[in-house]
């Protein structure tokens, strides 16, 4: 059975079964029609023979001979071979002569009988009393070589069915095989590292075509994810190198100064604290990466409860106000609004704190930052806007990309994960983060669905 699993073996097995069945059917039909004809002919000659025998018994031999003569001349019985002989084969009447004697009862006869015009037929021989023997012969072929012709017809008919099926199966197998081979080649190429390969699509919209399209769409998605991973790994590597290199340089210099022993302890301590701050910023970056991974895992959703986004916005404003003031920016809070949403209080606070920190970091001193909570239909909105330089519309998408710090701001602080983290928090809450123009300045809006 194991061999039948291959496509070729299955096809061959099917074809053998089909040809056998068709051949047997053809043979059976041929035999059945032949049998039917023989039975019909037998019935006819038996009927004629019976009538004549009865007449011979009742009306006498002379009348019987006259009747035989009449039958051979009539149109509907003229094709019958009739012969009346005595027991020792002396001819009395009829339209045929036999080359050899026939056995009593039904028999199959052919040309060897020597009856003119008869190729194959049936004969009935019966004694009808008074030492007389009546023979009736009829053709089973309406014309010459009828059976050969019939065999030919069956052969062509059933043969063409077999041919059509064999050709169909072969084509079918070829088409499926070609598709499978094409797909396998693509998979092999991808396994070998060629991510650009795709399964050929012919645009016919067939099931195969749809299959190929679905397969290609999956490959596109995988390629996209791989590109993203590769980008992120590149970015992480790049963004880690800078602070790590700085940290290393600092520690090296520190070791040299400690060796010389001429630096005042206060300076050494300040250097060490700088190194600690460097490692803290590295740790903060890892914390953000892990946090995003945690949020995108979606497990935090299990802890969602009904929270008031308006109250969280107000709380973040009060928490961040002194920090903004220390940094020379003013942070103002809009009117309190009740915004019930299903969410995680700490994550939402983290998102808003990130937006405020972002605003403080990217505006000049003296700037004004506003946190405004509002309701728009079934959406809870919290916007953080500043009157700083803003982000040009063309660059906003990049600002949301991980490590997507805009050119020129790479030197400034921050690990480039702030806005992506906010966006992933918004997404976890089935909401969005949109960056817009506050005219002037940046407006970042978190929109979450209002909890019913």
């Amino acid at each position: 059975m194991k061999r039948l699993r291959s496509l070729h073996a299955l096809t061959a097995a099917f074809l053998v079964a089909f040809i056998t069945a068709t051949g047997l059917t053809g043979l059976a039909v041929y035999r059945a029609t032949h049998g039917t004809i023989v039975a019909l002919v037998d019935r006819r000659i038996a009927s004629v023979s019976g009538e004549l025998a009865a007449m011979g018994t009742h009306s006498g031999t002379t009348e019987l001979i006259r009747q035989i003569g009449a039958l051979t001349r009539e149109r509907d019985t003229g094709d019958l071979g009739l012969l009346l002989t005595t027991a020792n084969s002396r001819f009395l009447a009829g339209n045929i002569r036999l080359r050899r004697p026939l056995p009593e009862g039904f028999s199959t006869v052919d040309r060897a009988l020597g009856v003119k015009g008869l190729s194959t037929g049936r004969a009935l021989v019966r004694p009808i009393g008074d030492g007389l023997i009546l023979t009736v012969v009829a053709e089973t072929e309406p014309f010459d070589d009828y059976n050969a012709a019939r065999a030919r017809i069956y052969l062509f008919g059933f043969g063409s069915i077999i041919l059509v099926v064999v050709a169909g199966v072969a084509t079918f197998g070829f088409v499926i095989g070609r598709r499978i081979v094409a797909m396998r080649r693509t998979v092999e190429a991808i396994v070998d590292g060629d991510m650009q390969r795709r399964v050929p699509v012919d645009g016919s919209g067939s099931a195969f075509d749809q299959q190929a399209r679905a397969f290609n769409a999956m490959l596109d998605r995988i390629a996209g994810l791989m590109a993203e991973i590769s980008n992120v790994s590149n970015d992480i590597a790049h963004d880690l190198r800078t602070p790590l290199a700085r940290l290393r340089g600092r520690l090296q210099a520190l070791a040299r100064r400690a060796e010389r022993g001429d630096a005042p302890p206060a300076e050494i301590i300040a250097e060490i604290e700088g190194a600690i701050a460097d490692s803290d910023s590295l740790l903060a970056m890892f914390a953000a990466i892990l946090r995003i991974a945690e949020i995108e895992g979606g497990a935090r959703r299990a802890g969602f409860e009904r929270v008031d986004l308006g109250a969280i916005a107000h709380h973040v404003a009060t928490t961040m106000q002194p920090a903004a003031a220390d940094a020379g920016r003013s942070l103002v809070d809009g009117d309190p609004v009740h915004l019930p949403v299903a969410g995680d209080r700490r994550l939402l606070a983290q998102a808003l704190i990130n937006l405020v920190e972002n605003a403080i970091r990217h505006t000049p001193e003296g700037s004004r930052i506003r946190i405004v909570a509002a309701r728009a239909g079934d959406q809870a909105l919290v916007s953080v806007e500043d009157d700083g330089p803003g982000i040009p519309a063309a660059e906003r998408a990049r600002a949301l990309r991980r490590f997507g710090r805009l050119d020129g701001s790479r030197a400034s602080s921050g690990h480039g994960l702030g806005l992506p983290l906010v966006e992933s928090i918004a997404r976890l809450h089935r909401g969005t983060l949109a960056l817009g123009d506050a005219g002037p300045g940046l407006r970042a809006v978190i929109a979450l669905p209002i909890a019913p």
């Binding site: 600690i276 903060a284 914390a287 892990l290 009060t318 928490t319 961040m320 002194p322 220390d326 983290q350």
Partner: protein, 226 residues
Amino acid sequence: MGLNLLLVEDDAALVAMLERDLREMGHHVSVATDGRAAIEAVTRDRFDAMILDLMLPTVDGLSVLQRIRQDGMGLPVIILSALGRPVEKVEGLDAGADDYVVKPVTAAELNARLNAILRGRRQPAQDGDTLRAGDIVVSPARFRAWRDGKAVDLSKIEFNLLLELVRNVDSIVTRAMLLEKVWGYDFEPATNLVDVHIRRLRAKLTANGGDDPISTVRGVGYLLPG
């Protein structure tokens, strides 16, 4: 106050550092480097507290904790976690941990948290009463604070900061502890919120004269002497 501590951690470098620093603080430290050894040690000897890493060879930290709590041992346990996932934290606290710290961790942080736990166990919460630290009195029930008999007008955040310091009078309270207790955050914002608000609190406490009552412990946190 020297404590008899069991440190369960398989990272040799971290063990060496924590062991040295905790001893310097006057504690006695025993080390177990896998879960089975930890269970054996805690069954054999009496400890004042256990510091327990979650990812351990042989038996993981959470199972160690469940095991010793099932055996009726109530010693204070602080969990150390490398990843700091909230699920871990919930599991750890459910299993009977007293506190949960995310690596990297310093001996000073552990010491501060141990003090807070032991203090909490010695004296049950007395939020109904007023609390005192030197010339500072706070009333959690009335949300009011006084210094030297004069009322000090504090914001909610400042009040909660002061309350946390008063509760842990004479002990260091770390920034991470304050972020957890006062703000309820499980993350550390880039902005140093604790320092910013402590500065405001100090200004209000010294507005009517008097020395700054809050000591800064460099790199660790704050301390309010009694």
